[in-house]
């Protein structure tokens, strides 16, 4: 046992310490200390992550797996959910990316946010995000991942609306939160459905939420169950990772501070959906139809948002749509069963897209918060570090040979074509998106750094301070060399990252699902790996095909770059002509295919109408009933009060008056003279005695009188 094996929990715990420190001691220790502590804690997480990685490297490749049961949580019978953390090849890569890029962006933020009055709060949120994201990545079960999942969603909301003084930012945060909620709902339903079915319906199954148990039992599920669960999980992933139809929140999310866009909305949080699907790889391999859906949606998103990015003028909007597009690539990758390629692209994308956003932030910072590319240009000499790092990221995302994006994107495209889940149509869409990516990124570069200067008077672009440029340089280095961990065999590389992650995505596949993968070869058994059949064709023709496709993607990347360069430096009139000749098409793309408007018309308006109606219902019917009953009560109590005053009180008072009157009269009798009382008593005694003595004769006399009267009456 190694010390780190039982202390995986420290990785997410570190930023959590930061959150508590900033919240409770932030104003005591001051801004500078907050910034240092925030960065330092994430750096400790990074060091621990490296330690975990090295530890896993030292293990037998088939058993690279560390479980850390930190705290018990829910124990019901044999069902257990713990605060348990798992490091395996996938989560080790993710945790390195999250803490590494996270650390660099924390450092960058100390410069970018330096003048902001809410500096301390910003770092509290950022640390909270790091905590939630690391929790999500290291979680060993779905429920714990869901905590992280919701945590990052919360941080995303808080940070998009960080400058909530502007109502538009607050609205953007709300939009992100609500759209994510739709996906999260799907995630929960999927989780409960799978949990219920595995425990209650599968013979030999058990109630479990552990990823490895789910994946290894997935082949026992009927295919329709696996497909349903996978589609529901993909709904969650599509919300978090901004895929069609739930991508609309991500471009608006750029309302947040730029480091947030880089960390949350480009490098880490939005890739959580891809990671989740890779975590459920065993389940997805048993659901071929769901994988097809994932791949198709991914490819469609990649192309769709790339076309939108072409026409945007806001530098962050271009990058936002580019992010959506690249996420589409990742889904294309995991959708065709190339989970490693998806995660690989996730990693390189975290480097170069994080860098693009940070560099764009540096530009915006230097241009005094100007985001419109039409007011930039010729910034190359003014912002030298930003420019050179931007160039590295540009070549990486465009897929220029030798840069990180080239390797990962090409791997996805090749798997989209060759994998048993793949299809040449998917490849073609991805290919077209690659060309567009190269084109719009070139357009962005040219409009920002080259050509004539178009800034307003009074703007003096300046390079950012070192705590911003150093992270840029670090990320630029990663963007350039990050791809060399996954050089394909064709280029005499070892493709280390793919082999590294292979054990974590290799699962047993049911026969039913295996029939769905048309190309499963006899003798291959039911032991499908991701990218199942790659090595089963003839190696020669396979390699020739791979080489051909690689050549094609290089060609389309370079072609896109050259066309973009030529069009935006020499022939500025062509884009204008295109826009003028096809105004409908141009406007449609400029307005993002009116998707927001369609959603507004189809969903939001109806929801608002319903809200209005329920508001009116509340106002009139419910409030009316309440007010009516209040009015009635008041009237009734008025009447009862009147009765009380006049009858009840009257009776009581009358009784009191009578008592008092009687008392006053009889009180006179009490003179206080003892002798008078005695006289009365003696008189009474005397009357009594006289009465007793005389009674027989009185009685006699009475009887006589009566008899005589009766006699008289009878006689007459």
């Amino acid at each position: 046992m190694n010390w780190i094996d039982t202390h995986l929990w420290l990785i997410p715990a570190m930023p959590l310490i930061g959150v508590l420190t900033h919240i409770f001691l932030g104003s005591v220790i001051g801004r500078k200390a907050v910034g240092i502590i925030a960065c330092l804690l994430v750096f400790i997480s990074l060091c621990l992550s490296v330690w975990v990685f090295v530890r896993l490297l030292g293990m037998d490749p088939e058993h690279r797996h560390i479980m850390n049961h930190f705290l018990p949580w829910i124990h019901v019978g044999s069902f257990k959910v713990d605060w348990a953390f798992r490091a395996d090849p996938i989560s080790a890569v993710m945790v390195l990316v999250v803490s590494g890029v996270g650390f660099l962006i924390h450092v960058y933020s100390t410069g970018y946010m330096a003048g902001d009055p809410k500096y301390i709060r910003f770092f509290a949120y950022l640390n909270l995000f790091a905590f939630a994201m690391l929790l999500l990545v290291l979680a060993s079960n779905v429920l714990l991942m869901f905590i992280g999942w919701e945590g990052v969603g919360l941080c995303s909301y808080l940070l998009i609306g960080f400058w909530f003084e502007d109502i538009e930012n607050a609205k953007a945060g709300l939009k992100a939160f609500i759209v994510n909620r739709i996906g999260d709902f799907s995630f929960i339903v999927g989780m409960l459905f799978l949990f219920w079915y595995m425990g209650a319906k599968v013979p030999g199954g058990k109630y479990t939420l552990d990823f490895y148990e789910i994946n290894s039992m997935a082949h026992m599920l009927p295919t329709w169950v696996a497909v349903t669960a996978c589609v529901l999980f993909f709904g969650g992933a599509a919300g978090k990772s901004a895929q069609i139809p739930l991508y609309v929140w991500l471009p608006d999310a750029m309302a947040g501070p730029t480091p947030v866009s880089a960390l949350i909305h480009a490098a880490t949080m939005v890739t959580a959906g891809v990671y989740m699907i890779a975590r459920f790889s065993g389940l997805y391999l048993n659901a071929p139809d769901a994988m097809m859906l994932v791949a198709t949606v991914g490819a469609a998103t990649a192309l769709f948002s790339a076309t939108i990015a072409v026409a945007q003028n806001d530098i962050k909007k271009v990058l936002a749509y580019s992010t959506v597009s690249q996420l589409g690539y990742m889904f294309l990758g995991v959708g065709v069963g190339a989970f490693q390629a998806g995660i690989f692209h996730l990693m390189t994308h975290a480097f170069f897209k994080g860098l693009l956003f940070l560099a764009a932030g540096s530009v915006i910072h230097g241009m005094h918060n100007e985001q419109d590319m039409r007011k930039m240009g010729a910034l190359k000499s003014k912002l030298p570090y930003t420019w050179i790092t931007f160039m590295a990221a540009w070549l990486a995302i465009a897929g220029f040979p030798g840069f990180s994006g080239f390797f990962s994107k090409d791997e996805i495209l090749w798997k989209a074509f060759s994998s048993s889940h793949g299809h040449w149509g998917l490849w073609l869409v991805g290919f077209a998106a690659a060309g567009l990516t190269a084109f719009y990124m070139t357009r962005l570069i040219v409009m920002t750094f080259y050509g004539e200067k178009r800034w307003d008077e009074g703007v003096h672009p300046h390079e950012s301070p070192p705590n911003m440029t150093v992270p840029l340089i670090a990320l630029a280095v990663l963007s350039v060399i990050g791809g060399y961990v996954g050089v394909p065999a064709l280029l005499k590389g070892g493709n280390h990252i793919e082999h590294w992650m292979e054990p974590a995505v290799t699962w047993t596949v049911s026969e039913e699902a295996a029939r769905g993968h048309e190309a499963v070869v006899a003798g291959h058994g039911h032991h499908a790996t991701a990218a199942a059949t790659e090595h089963h064709g003839e190696h020669g023709s396979e390699h020739a095909m791979e080489g051909l496709l690689m050549g094609a993607s290089v060609a389309v990347a370079i072609g896109g770059i050259l066309i973009g360069w030529w069009m935006y430096t020499r022939r500025r009139d062509i884009p204008e002509k295109v826009a003028n000749n096809w105004p409908m098409a141009y406007k449609t793309v400029l307005n993002k295919y009116y998707v927001d408007e369609i959603y507004h018309w189809a969903v939001i308006k109806n929801v608002l109408r319903l809200t209005w109606f329920s508001g009116k219902f509340d106002n009139w019917v419910i409030d009316g009933a309440v007010n009516g009953s209040a009015w009635l009560t008041r009237k009734v109590s008025g009447i009862s009060g009147w009765i009380d005053n006049n009858f009840v009180d009257g009776t009581v008072n009358a009784v009191a008056e009578i008592t008092r009157g009687i008392g006053a009269r009889f009180g006179k009798v009490q003179t206080g003279r003892v002798q008078q009382y005695l006289t009365l008593a003696a008189a009474m005694v005397a009357i009594f005695i006289v009465g007793v003595i005389l009674w027989p004769s009185i009685e006699l006399a009475g009887k006589e009188l009566y008899r005589q009267l009766f006699h008289i009456a009878a006689g007459s």
């Binding site: 009889f666 006179k668 003179t671 206080g672 003279r673 006289t679």
Partner: protein, 101 residues
């Protein structure tokens, strides 16, 4: 021998004189003298009936009890009268009419 009727007549007379004194005298001491007279009228009856109608000494014992009681009562009464005097500077019962309604 004196007939019982005479003795009872003397007793009734004494009772009436006592009652008259009780009801008519203003001085508290005189009122008590009236009470004593009434008690002794009753005693006289006890003794008379004992002597004429009973062969036992029951009536005489009762008379002795009454005399003792009267002595004890008079001690209490004198204390009351002194207290009355201290409060009202008078032993006239008419002056002590604090309890009138």
């Amino acid at each position: 021998m004196i007939p019982i009727g005479h003795i009872l007549a003397v007793g009734a007379a004494m009772f009436c004189i006592g009652l008259f004194a009780l009801l008519s005298r203003r001085n508290a001491v005189a009122v008590f003298m009236g009470i004593e007279l009434m008690l002794n009228a009753a005693n006289l009856n006890f003794v008379a009936f004992s002597h004429y109608h009973s062969q036992s000494i029951d009536g005489i014992v009762a008379a002795v009890f009454v005399i003792m009681l009267a002595a004890a009562e008079f001690a209490v009464a004198l204390a009351l009268i002194l207290s009355l005097y201290q409060t009202f500077r008078s032993v006239h019962l008419d002056d002590a009419d604090e309890m009138k309604g």
